[in-house]
C-alpha cells in the first residue's frame, strides 16, 4: 500500500485526526460544569462512543494485520478469554488481565512454531 507523500498526508492527518479529536476536547472544556452528567443524551453519546471503540477492538482481534493474520482465531480468542478470567480473579486489575492475555498469546505462538 502506497500512502501519499508530502503536505497532503500531513493535512489529511491534521483534518481527519487532530481537528476530529480536539473539537470534542474543546467542547468538553466549554461544557465543563454545565454539562449534566445524568442527561439521557449524554448517556446515548457515551453508549455510541463505547460501542464504536468496541467494534475497533473486535476487528483488531478477529482481523489482525501482520504476524497475527497467520495465527489461528482460536488462539487469539482463547488468549482474550484467559486474560479476562485473570482480570476478574484479580479484582479487575487491568495490568493482570493484559499481561495474562499477552503471555497466553506468546506461549501459543511459540508452541505453534512462530
Amino acid at each position: 500500500m502506497n500512502w501519499m507523500d508530502g503536505w497532503w498526508a500531513y493535512a489529511f492527518i491534521a483534518i481527519a485526526g487532530w481537528l476530529a479529536t480536539d473539537i470534542w476536547r474543546w467542547l468538553g472544556v466549554l461544557a465543563g460544569n454545565r454539562l449534566r452528567d445524568d442527561s439521557e443524551a449524554l448517556n446515548w453519546v457515551r453508549a455510541v462512543a463505547t460501542a464504536l471503540v468496541a467494534a475497533v477492538i473486535a476487528k483488531l482481534i478477529l482481523y489482525p494485520t501482520g504476524v497475527l493474520a497467520q495465527s489461528p482465531l482460536w488462539l487469539r480468542l482463547g488468549a482474550v478469554a484467559v486474560g479476562a478470567i485473570a482480570f476478574f480473579l484479580a479484582r479487575q486489575k487491568p495490568a493482570v488481565g493484559i499481561a495474562t492475555a499477552v503471555a497466553a498469546l506468546a506461549v501459543g505462538l511459540w508452541w505453534l512454531g512462530f
Binding site: 489529511f12 481537528l19 480536539d22 460501542a51 464504536l52 476487528k59 478477529l62 494485520t65 488481565g97
Partner: protein
C-alpha cells in the same frame, strides 16, 4: 501563611510540574508506552512514513482515534469518511474532559489554558488524573496535569520515532504480542474506567456488532456498529433501568 510569595510560588510550581512528569513511571503510563510500540508496528505494516507517525502521535494523541485513522488510511477512505469515523470515536473525549475540568480548575484558571491542556487528555491521562489529582492542592492541579500530559506525549513521540526502525526487525512472537496489546489494553481499560452500566452493555454489543457489520457492510462497519450497537445498548439499558425503577 496564605500570602503568596512569588518566588516560593514559582518554585513550588516547578515541583508540581515535576511531580506530574514523574507519572511517566506509573503503571498506566508504562502500559500506554508498550501499546504505542504496538501501534508503531501497526503503522509500519500500514506503510505510513515515520515522520507522519510521530506527527500523528503528537497531534491526535488519543490512541483509539489514531487506530481508526490508520485503518481509514489503509482502506483508502476519503477525507470526509475518515473525519467522520475519527470524530465519532472521539465523542467520548467530550464527557471525559467535561468531567475532569471541574477537578482541575480554580475560579482564576483562564479558559485558554484549559483548552490547551485538554489536548493532552486521552484514556490513560484521564484515568491517571482523576485518580491522583485529588491529592494535589487545587492551585497546582493544572501544573501537575501539564507536567504529566506534556511528558507523556513527548515521551511517546520520541518512543515512536526511535522504535519505528526497530519494530520491523522484531521476532514474530514479539511483533504479534505488541499488536495484541492494543485491543487487550482497550478492553481492560474501558471496563475498568466505566462509571455507568450503559458502558458495559455498549462494550459487549459493540464487540459483537463490529464483526457483524464488517460482514454486512465492510466500508461503514465501524460507524454502523457504533451507531447501531450503541443505540441498542442505550435503549436496552434505559428499558432495564425504567423497569427496575417501576418495580422498586
Amino acid at each position: 501563611m496564605n500570602s503568596v510569595d512569588p518566588i516560593e510560588d514559582e518554585r513550588s510550581s516547578l515541583v508540581w510540574f515535576l511531580a506530574g512528569a514523574r507519572g511517566i513511571f506509573s503503571l498506566p503510563a508504562i502500559i500506554l508506552m508498550l501499546s504505542f510500540v504496538g501501534f508503531c508496528s501497526l503503522t509500519v505494516q500500514a506503510g505510513i512514513p515515520p515522520g507522519q507517525v510521530v506527527f500523528m502521535t503528537g497531534i491526535v494523541w488519543a490512541l483509539p482515534a489514531k487506530v481508526i485513522l490508520v485503518s481509514s488510511i489503509l482502506s483508502d477512505a476519503s477525507l470526509a469518511t475518515a473525519f467522520l469515523a475519527v470524530t465519532l470515536s472521539s465523542v467520548r473525549l467530550m464527557p471525559m474532559v467535561a468531567a475532569l475540568v471541574p477537578e482541575l480548575r480554580t475560579p482564576k484558571t483562564p479558559t485558554w489554558l484549559l483548552l490547551v491542556l485538554s489536548h493532552f487528555i486521552a484514556i490513560t491521562a484521564w484515568v491517571f488524573a482523576m485518580e491522583r489529582v485529588q491529592d494535589v492542592p487545587r492551585q497546582h492541579r493544572t501544573t501537575f496535569f501539564a507536567g504529566f500530559g506534556i511528558t507523556l506525549v513527548a515521551a511517546n513521540m520520541a518512543l515512536v520515532g526511535i522504535v519505528y526502525r526497530l519494530v520491523a526487525d522484531f521476532p514474530p512472537v514479539v511483533a504479534g504480542c505488541l499488536f495484541f496489546l492494543t485491543p487487550v489494553y482497550f478492553l481492560a481499560s474501558i471496563w475498568n474506567s466505566a462509571r455507568h452500566p450503559v458502558v458495559y452493555a455498549a462494550l459487549a454489543i459493540g464487540l459483537v456488532a463490529g464483526p457483524l457489520c464488517y460482514w454486512i457492510a465492510p466500508e461503514f462497519d465501524i460507524l454502523l456498529a457504533g451507531l447501531g450497537g450503541g443505540t441498542i445498548a442505550w435503549a436496552g439499558e434505559r428499558l432495564w433501568r425504567s423497569k427496575r425503577e417501576k418495580s422498586a
